[in-house]
Symmetry: C2
Subunit: 341 residues, 2 copies
DNA sequence: AATCAAATTGCAATCGTTTGCGAGAACGTT
DNA sequence: AACGTTCTCGCAAACGATTGCAATTTGATT
């Protein structure tokens, strides 16, 4: 059961007693070719189910119409919504998408960047691996092909970046807690210099300051791995304090859900005694009891926007691409974990 | 800021006063080339950061080392774990992966199959769009390039398929419910002729029969869209019956979670009054209270296995590829929703 | 009928790499 | 010194498509 060979321009040309170039032009509606031959060529092409070898086309034009995407973890829900947006926009614009997972491994990340450029993708979309320390490899890529970053970015890399306004989003979330009457708001964040965590923390601080609330380091908790388990663990610490908080802002839904689980276990009333707000609007946030208030990040839009700017750079390389940081609007979704009638 | 051109064999050849072929052979450790020139070539290549144009290579060898993947929905958790497996195995074997979403749209699906073959991927991995009625387009592809299907498959397509044993998995789940003493087990399934739903239903029936339990059509409920909302809706129907079930088997975690939400609302004790078992081991299943018993489908393994067989077909096209259906083992995870000490 | 312009078509190069074959050089054998 | 091997290397074709330019045909004009 061997596979049938694709038919080429040459095949058509031979069968029609024409030159390859004439056949090519006939199929590309070049004005030079007389209508009758155009007719002959197109009918035979249809009959034989001719379809141009895109690979050969790409090879000649030095344009692959392929975008490379590198993300830390494809199975992360927020990431997958971004990918969805990327796929949609790319397809709409006639691009194919190669996806790779860096698994938060910096070495792998550079390897992937290299194979991608080596392979000849027209541009790369990149969400940095966590704790990416050296950006020199990325900078290398930058003067070879267009690059747009999203979600996990670094200001050390001069390229267009699509992000959400972490600081503002966190500010809004915390301000909401203040507005419902909370005065002692804890935060659960990451220790490592995570791009997002730091910005969200800044938003937290800003909200407290603007509302003249004291900042108490005892209720500013950090963890290396911002997981459900650690969210629960840190919440246990918070509720065993002599002066426990009346609200918890977790910079991740998972951690927030861990918090709720801990509070539920000790029958602490949410949101009356302690309110909880998370970040991401993951699937889980509506599953947990009570439903979690959280910041919605429009992944789809981020993906689409990233592709839009990347293709702009690809198709207009001459115009000096103004490097910009695009901030996608988030929205606070208020659910039972912070809702008071 | 124009991008720098990649350097080619020609460049190296000119600079070394050698022919392109010699340079090529030198870099590919061809025995014909004398050690001293190999030396000269390799050092210059390193110096100039030469890396072969993979696209040109592919073009010549007619081997792209690209696999195409088409799935209905990339943001579905189970699907994304499969993709993870696919990416891992593919990378390990030196293949790149192009991913497309059919969005359960049959027309899009065929379009994508066509662009992929037209582009020249070495093989395709396909999970069928729901309600795919006509498989003729897929059959068309089948005699052009290697194809392996997974998860959503059809027995009308003669190719290697990687699936889980839906029937057996469902059988085990229902038998488990019987073992903990349940005698009146409802099922929530899909109406449409979904490949998976029917098989799981068959497993349900088999378990009841083997244990001599009566089959009551009143507690066999179906829905077009097997969602959380519909799971809740149908459960409401079940608990308002004069003779309600003492267990619910939902063929999807989402529906099962909907069931739990409905039961919780009416303060029906889980699992004492009504036990619940789902299917998929999604993230949500540990978030809901009580934690959901469910069937774990090893997505990662499915993905890896699919790639393994696909590459086998690609690299040994002569040997008559024995078309086989590989069933990946599932395991029942027992949690609080069906646990009795 | 001769000439010229316009309409059609073909030649050949090109993209970057690999590879069969042949050519020339170096070396050893008699 | 003549011949045959063995080493090295370059030529040119090939993958499939596009395209500038030249070549050919056609038709029109005088």
């Amino acid at each position: 059961m061997s596979k049938q060979r694709n038919i080429t321009l040459k095949d058509l040309a031979k069968e029609l007693n024409l030159s390859i170039s004439t056949v090519s032009r006939a199929l590309n509606q070049h004005p030079d070719i007389k209508p009758s031959t155009v007719e002959r060529v197109t009918t035979l092409a249809k009959q034989r189910h001719y379809s141009p070898n895109l690979f050969a086309k790409s090879f000649r034009s030095r344009k692959t119409n392929i975008l490379g995407v590198i993300v830390p973890n494809i199975a992360h829900y927020f990431t997958s919504t971004i990918l969805k947006g990327i796929l949609e926009k790319a397809e709409e614009k006639g691009y194919r998408v190669i996806i790779s997972e860096s698994k938060n491994n910096e070495v792998k990340q550079t390897e992937m960047l290299q194979t991608m450029t080596q392979f000849g993708v027209d541009g790369v979309l990149l969400a940095l691996a966590r704790k990416t320390t050296s950006v020199t490899d990325v900078l290398q890529i930058l003067n070879r092909i267009p690059l747009v970053m999203f979600d996990k970015v670094s200001d050390k890399i001069p390229c267009t970046q699509i992000v959400i306004d972490d600081k503002e989003a966190a500010f809004n979330a915390v301000e909401h807690l203040i507005n419902i009457g909370k005065k002692r708001i804890a935060i659960i964040k990451e220790t490592e210099n995570s791009f997002n965590s730091e910005k969200r923390f800044a938003g937290y601080l800003k909200a407290l300051k603007e509302h003249n609330l004291p900042i108490d380091e005892k209720i500013i908790l950090s963890t290396e791995d911002i997981s459900l388990t650690n969210g629960r663990r840190l919440t246990n610490i918070l509720i065993s304090m002599k002066n426990p908080p009346d609200a918890i802002f977790a910079i991740t839904d998972n951690a927030a859900i861990g918090a709720i689980k801990a509070l539920n276990k000790f029958k602490i009333k949410i949101p009356e005694q302690i309110a909880v707000v998370g970040f991401s609007n993951s699937m889980n946030s509506t599953i947990i009891q009570p439903a979690l208030s959280t910041v919605d990040q429009p992944g789809n839009k981020i993906g689409k926007t990233a592709v839009k700017y990347l293709i702009q750079e690809i198709e207009k390389p001459n115009e000096d691409v103004s490097i910009k940081t695009v901030k996608i609007k988030t929205s606070l979704i208020i659910r039972d974990s912070s809702f008071t009638a």
